[in-house]
Amino acid sequence: MACCVAVLIKENLIYLRRSAEELKFLFLIHASIDILDDKVNQLTKPTSDRDARDFYLGLLYPVEEYKIYGYVSSTRVKFILIFEHSTSISLKDQDIKLLFQRLHQAYIDCISNPFYEPNTQLKSKRFEQVVTSLMVQNDPLTSAIVSSQASSVPSTSAIVPTAI
C-alpha cells in the first residue's frame, strides 16, 4: 500500500513509480538519500551491533503526511518506499520488511536478464507487476495504471486527465 517506490544506484534513480504526479516525492527521495547514507556508514563501523537482517534500515524520517522506509543491499542498491499516514497505520515493521524482500528479489530477477545493461532504467514487465502489487490498490490512479500495463513507462502523466 505504498504510494511511491524508488530504486537507486549510486544516487542515480533507475526506477520510480508514483501514485500521483507530484514533485514532492522526488524531493523526499533526494532528501532521504542522505539519511540512507548516514545509516549505511553507521552500520559499517565495527563497533556497532549488527543483527542478521542488516539490509532493512527502518523508518528513515516521518514527514507530515508520509512515512519513508529504506532498504540497502550488499551491493549498495537502495530501495525506498513512501507510505501515506492514512493507509499505513496498521503496517508493522515486519510487513514492510517482507515487502522490501519481495522488491529485492524482483530487482535481482530483473538485472539477471543478460540484455539488461547495468545502470540503466529498469524496464521489466515482471518487475512492474511486483511493484504494482505493492502500490495502493484502491486508488483510482493506480487502478488505471493496472489496466494499462501494456506500456512500460513508469510515470503516470498520461493517466492524470482521467482522474476526478
Partner: protein
C-alpha cells in the same frame, strides 16, 4: 550434478569459439571472455549476497568471496588466501574446477607459458572482478596457472570511491 557438466561444456565451447574467431590473438579473446565473466559476476554478486547479510569492509568481503562464494561457484574451498593489507590479495586454488577437463586429457601440469591455456581462466577473472566491483570494490584481477591450480591476484583500487 548435471548442471556442472553442462556449464563445463559451455565454458569450453565459448573458449574455443573466441579462440577461433580471433585467430590465436590471445589478448582479444581474453578480453571478450573477461567481459562475459564481468557481466555474469555483476548479477551473481547481487543474487548470492542477498542471503548473507552484513556490511563488510574490504577484507571481510574478500573472505566472504573465498569462503562462501567459492563454494557456490566452483564447488570447493580456496586453498590459500594471502594479503598485504594494502589492497592486494592472492587467492590460490589447488585444483581449479574449470581446468579439470583439460587435465584429464593431457595428464600433466599445464604449461604456464602456453598462452592459450590462459584463455581458460579469463572468464573466471572477469567473474571475480564483476562480483567485487558490484560489492563496491573496483579491482583488477590477474591469474596464472600453477601446477594444476590457479593463483588469482586481486588489486583493489584505493583511488576510486566506494559509493
Amino acid at each position: 550434478m548435471v548442471d556442472e557438466t553442462l556449464f563445463d561444456y559451455l565454458h569450453m565451447s565459448i573458449v574455443e569459439h573466441y579462440n577461433n574467431e580471433n585467430e590465436n590473438d590471445v589478448e582479444t579473446a581474453s578480453a571478450y571472455l573477461s567481459q562475459i565473466g564481468y557481466r555474469v559476476g555483476y548479477s551473481l554478486g547481487e543474487r548470492l549476497s542477498k542471503e548473507n547479510a552484513r556490511y563488510r569492509d574490504e577484507l571481510d568481503t574478500v573472505k566472504y568471496l573465498c569462503k562462501e562464494l567459492w563454494i557456490c561457484l566452483f564447488k570447493r574451498q580456496v586453498d590459500n588466501l594471502r594479503t598485504n593489507h594494502q589492497g592486494v590479495y592472492v587467492i590460490h586454488d589447488g585444483r581449479f574446477r574449470l581446468l579439470q577437463q583439460t587435465l584429464t586429457t593431457m595428464n600433466k601440469p599445464i604449461d604456464s607459458n602456453n598462452r592459450l591455456h590462459t584463455l581458460y581462466i579469463a572468464y573466471s577473472n572477469g567473474l571475480l572482478r564483476g562480483i567485487l566491483t558490484n560489492m563496491g570494490y573496483p579491482c583488477r584481477v590477474t591469474a596464472e596457472i600453477v601446477d594444476f591450480g590457479v593463483r588469482f591476484q586481486i588489486e583493489v583500487n584505493p583511488v576510486v570511491g566506494q559509493k
